[in-house]
């Protein structure tokens, strides 16, 4: 095999075998690219770092079959702002994830991500929480378990199951579903990671195993609709699982609740007052195309909305996707700091969003300066029941 050098040292040494591997793993995603560079100019990292992430260069290297710089591959949060503006409709993130798989095969995955892989393998969640504690958040609630007659499966997700702060989202979701009379259930201790972070790490063999295990568990539970609290899980269920044989309907919990609102099943007895601003999570907004449901819930719960200048399809990223929750970002370069600043400028009393990672990153950022409460739409809505 000829010598292969990474792009970035001024030379590109081309390699036919590598080109074929890249074509296979990216499924030809980069072929339509004509190198205009809108992606690089769009990437939110350019706002916070002296050098933007050169998405264009990664794509060019891949088109030629040269090695991209591994570190750059894991800088991407998968926010998809670049591909939403790409004039050629290149599926940039899907292609990038393919390049991560190639890098994983060469052991170029950042060592920090190893832990999430072991955690998921051993404990069923990337944080290494004990499997028997997965439903601890529900210990003093009577949350029904999935089974016959309960076609709606509430998929809680790893972060919400284990983080004491985020567990409030699960509790709020249960209150709302109960109030609307939904016959839902959870898998409890039997729930396993959806594989979002495993995919981000580039480990495709184990991902396949995880996905098949989950598809079978959902089928055995009789689930026709799987409702996710995290948009990252939703993205897996909507975009990835169907390619592996899944046939269930996947919804975000705000989508189901908005549907119930329209049907008159969900009513708010004590609407709250006050102005909030809403941040569109990348994986609910751009990826799932859902901008309306969380806003409808907030308004029905009595809040008035004050939009940030960049919202809906233009909303920037909090920095938490694509495995970035496991990779450190230097202070001063954190996307969440900027977004929280934009939220403050609206004068809203709180920053609402509907993604566990956004909540964690924003609370982290908001804790540093002027206090700005960060709430999930579920928490805000449950208070108005």
């Amino acid at each position: 095999m000829p010598e292969v050098r990474p792009a970035g040292d001024g030379r590109l040494i081309l390699d036919d075998e590598r080109l074929e591997e890249v074509l296979e793993l990216t499924q030809g995603a980069f072929l339509p690219c004509y190198q205009c560079g809108v992606c690089t100019a769009t990437c939110p990292w350019g706002e916070v770092r002296p050098e933007p992430l050169s998405v264009r260069r990664i794509v060019r290297a891949a088109q030629l079959g040269a090695h991209p710089e591994a570190a750059a591959l894991w800088q991407c949060t998968g926010c998809a702002l670049c591909q939403s503006r790409c004039p050629k409709g290149v599926e940039i993130v899907r292609g990038l994830w393919g390049l991560r798989r190639a890098a994983f095969r060469r052991r170029q995955t950042p060592p920090e991500l190893e832990r999430l892989l072991w955690g998921t393998l051993e404990d069923g969640n990337p944080w290494g929480g004990a499997p028997r504690e997965r439903a601890r958040w529900a210990r003093d609630l009577e949350v029904p378990r999935a089974g016959p007659g309960r076609e709606v499966l509430l998929y809680v997700g790893c972060a919400v199951s284990y983080d004491p702060r985020l567990q409030r989202l699960a509790r709020a979701a249960c209150r709302l579903l109960e109030a609307a009379g939904v016959r839902y259930g959870i898998l409890g201790e039997a729930e396993t990671c959806c594989g979002d972070s495993v995919m981000a790490a580039g480990e495709d063999a184990y991902l396949e195993e995880l996905i098949q295990g989950n598809i079978q568990a959902f089928r055995e539970a009789g689930a026709e609709t799987v409702v996710a609290i995290s948009p990252h899980c939703l993205h897996m269920f909507r975009e990835v699982y169907p390619r592996h044989g899944a046939e269930f309907e996947a919804l975000h919990v705000t989508q189901l609740l908005a549907r119930l609102l329209h049907q008159g099943e969900l009513r708010f007895g004590s609407p709250e007052g006050g102005a909030v601003t809403y941040h569109d999570p990348c994986f609910l907004g751009r990826w799932a195309g859902e901008y309306g449901a969380p806003r409808e819930l907030l308004e029905a719960a009595g809040f008035s909305l004050r939009e940030m200048a960049a919202c809906e399809a233009e909303a920037p990223c909090c920095g938490g996707g694509g495995g970035r929750m496991w990779l450190e970002t230097d202070p001063g370069e954190r996307l969440a700091d900027h977004r929280v600043e934009e939220a403050r400028e609206t004068g809203a009393a709180a920053l609402a969003t509907s993604c566990p990672y956004c909540i964690q990153n924003f609370e982290d950022a908001a804790g540093a300066g002027e206090p700005l409460p960060v709430v999930d739409v579920l928490e805000a809505a449950a208070r108005a029941l």
């Binding site: 920090e112 832990r115 955690g119 944080w127 290494g128 929480g129 972060a159 284990y162 983080d163 004491p164 702060r165 985020l166 929750m325 496991w326 990779l327 450190e328 202070p331 964690q360 982290d364 804790g367 540093a368």
Partner: protein
């Protein structure tokens, strides 16, 4: 026995206590083996702590720990003396030496034992596995039976300055031995090492950022390393290499004292394998109390001085008793 700057490490005194009991049951003398450059003080302490005989090998090339040289010297003595049981402290150096030595003298070796007793005249060394979930008794069927012993498990035996024993200085020719390494510089590990491998850790959380000085003292008294949560490293109070959690280190100390730490998942994912978790937090609702073995609710700024006084007295009393 392992020494540092001529003094025996605490774990070396601890294994004298464990060894004394086994030797008495077997009806054999207890011998302390010392390898180093200046061993007078450590040899005396070994006898006062229970050794019948001290074998002291003084050699300038043994002044600091060198795997090959210490192995060569110890192997020669063990093969000559043929002890039934050999114990070492499960320190980094002790574990390094024990593995090679066991192969050299054809001994069965149990690493990191937490309990020792005799079973039909043979050494049963107990080792915990799966995060303490199981305890396995391991017997070696070799003439020499070896174990490394986890530091801090056995008490340091009472020191008796009236105790008499025999000091045998042994000369060993190391001229034919090479360790293929050259010592360039020796550096004492200090807190800059970070908390990764520490047995005890004091973690500074966001709620205790103003308490760095007393927390350093607390770490000193507990012989603990300092660790930090992400906001503390963000603020530049401690280096990033001290950060515990999702984007930092995963630690497995025997004791972790978390001060001003709320207990969010991103911290706990790096700390939940701590054997004993003590939490100090002003907020009784803080999730850390769900995970902690011991919890103190209160303002660290007000609690630390009292805690330091009490600990200082206890440590002082223990040291003067020793």
């Amino acid at each position: 026995m392992e020494t540092q700057a001529g003094r025996a490490l605490p774990v070396s005194l601890e294994i004298l206590g464990a060894g004394r009991r086994i030797a008495d049951e077997l009806g054999t003398p207890l011998t302390a083996l010392l390898l180093g450059a200046q061993l007078e003080e450590a040899a005396q302490e070994a006898i006062w702590h229970g050794a019948d005989t001290v074998l002291a090998v003084e050699h300038p090339r043994l002044a600091s720990y060198r795997t090959a040289l210490h192995t060569a010297a110890a192997a020669r003595l063990l093969l000559r003396e043929q002890p039934a049981v050999v114990l070492l402290g499960a320190t980094p150096n002790g574990r390094d030496l024990a593995g090679r030595l066991a192969v050299r003298v054809r001994a069965g070796l149990t690493a990191d034992a937490v309990r020792l007793n005799l079973s039909q005249g043979r050494l049963a060394a107990y080792k915990s596995g799966f995060g303490g979930g199981i305890l396995a008794a391991i017997l070696a069927h070799t003439p020499i039976q070896m174990a490394t012993v986890r530091p801090g498990v056995f008490p340091v035996p009472a020191r008796d300055p009236q105790r008499r024993g025999r000091l045998r200085r042994v000369r060993i020719d190391l001229s034919g031995e090479s360790d293929g390494a050259r010592l360039l510089e020796e550096e004492q590990a200090d807190e800059q090492e970070g908390p990764l491998k520490a047995e005890r850790i004091v973690v500074v959380g966001r709620g205790a950022m103003g308490q760095l000085a007393p927390l350093r003292r607390l770490a000193g008294l507990l012989e603990a390393a300092l660790g930090a949560t992400r906001p503390v490293c963000d603020a530049g109070l401690l280096p990033r290499s001290f950060q515990i959690g999702t984007t930092g280190l995963t630690v497995r100390p025997r004791l972790l004292v978390a001060v001003g730490v709320s207990g969010a998942m991103h911290f706990m994912s790096g700390a939940e394998e701590s054997e004993t978790l003590v939490a100090i937090n002003v907020d009784p609702q803080a999730p850390i109390f769900d995970q902690a073995d011991f919890g103190l609710v209160g303002d660290a700024a007000r609690m630390l001085p009292a805690l330091l006084d009490a600990l200082g007295e206890a440590v002082g009393a223990r040291r003067s008793a020793a």
